[in-house]
Symmetry: C3
Subunit: 147 residues, 3 copies
């Protein structure tokens, strides 16, 4: 998606924009706390996650949770903490209520006893949907600036 | 506090969430500008501040202001500017109106004439209260990822 | 502008504050995507941009677009991607509806195949105005912490 100026009708309301910010805060706290199953619940049942280091997109909560659980275990063993930050969040509602979100994503990494460092600078493109009143990630595509 | 999915009633309204964001912006501008007394006024009268490098939590505005004034003086003498960033802000209102806030906090450091650098990656857990219509920090607990 | 505590009447409404956040997101996506003309359209017709490396402020959309187009071309040739982040955004409405905004601004830089890095830590002071219903930058002044 190329960045564009806002078109009429493509502006999220204040409360909807805030809901997206709040959603991402808890979403990333769960991820960085290693709560793999709870994190996977913030994806739609058949949600997909596509990142440049994956040979193909991961599909479905079980697969998403399994991937995160594995990565969490490896980081814990290495004494590493990661923090994922979303920022510069652009929210564009679709007529059907789904949200196209494009934002920047930083990953910070810290090994116990060592200096914290910037690990990755990424762009995250999500489609968020509402299921039973809650926002969830339907599709996620992450690109890394260094690749 | 372990990260959790939102429970009913634990969602801040859009305007309240924005108020917290706006509060943190001014709060950190005051801190980084070295306005120790003004910064201390954004804590409740008996507010507390607990950080890993402190032997015990600092309590009350006078003590909070004194600590910041000292640190500000030392940084000024060294030609250092710090910038504190809060992000991924999760706001959970309590029934009594106080707010449990958990967010990530970055500290950037720049010495005149040198490259800016990431200094710290932290987690900040605040309880915010409303006093005379204004949000203030009642308790703050900061943890550093590197410790 | 020295950071100050909020004065009565100096608080942006929730929807206005969100509009500023949303504005900056698209504004920076346009900049970092190299869409110089579209980016210049987010400045007022006679908007000004003042940065420490400029001998004098740039004035007007054409000049602003030209400067960005040149920088974009140079970065593309060098294989560099930049990401501009605004954060800790303080919005103070003026009686006439213009907005005084003071925020922190980070610039991240990534060269293909290399580690991403923090490039700059800045403070950005904007005056935003509404033209035909849309927010635009009337004046921008950026200061760098390292200079």
């Amino acid at each position: 998606m190329t960045a564009q100026l806002a078109q009429p009708g493509e502006i999220a309301s204040g409360s909807l924009y805030v809901e997206v910010q709040q959603f991402y805060a808890r979403h990333m706290h769960l991820l960085d706390s290693g709560q793999a199953d709870e994190w996977a619940q913030t994806f739609a049942e058949d949600g997909t996650f596509d990142a440049p280091t994956m040979p193909e997109p991961v599909r479905g909560r079980a697969a998403i949770a399994a991937g995160v659980a594995k990565a969490t275990k490896e980081r814990a063993a290495a004494g590493e903490i990661q923090r994922h930050w979303h920022g510069m969040v652009d929210v564009r509602p679709r007529p059907d209520g789904a949200l196209d979100v494009r934002c920047y994503a930083l990953v910070f990494s810290t090994f116990k006893g060592q200096e914290s460092r910037l690990h990755r600078v990424c762009v995250c493109e999500d489609v968020l949907v509402r299921v039973d009143g809650r926002l969830m990630v339907s599709t996620r595509r992450v690109t890394r600036d260094d690749l």
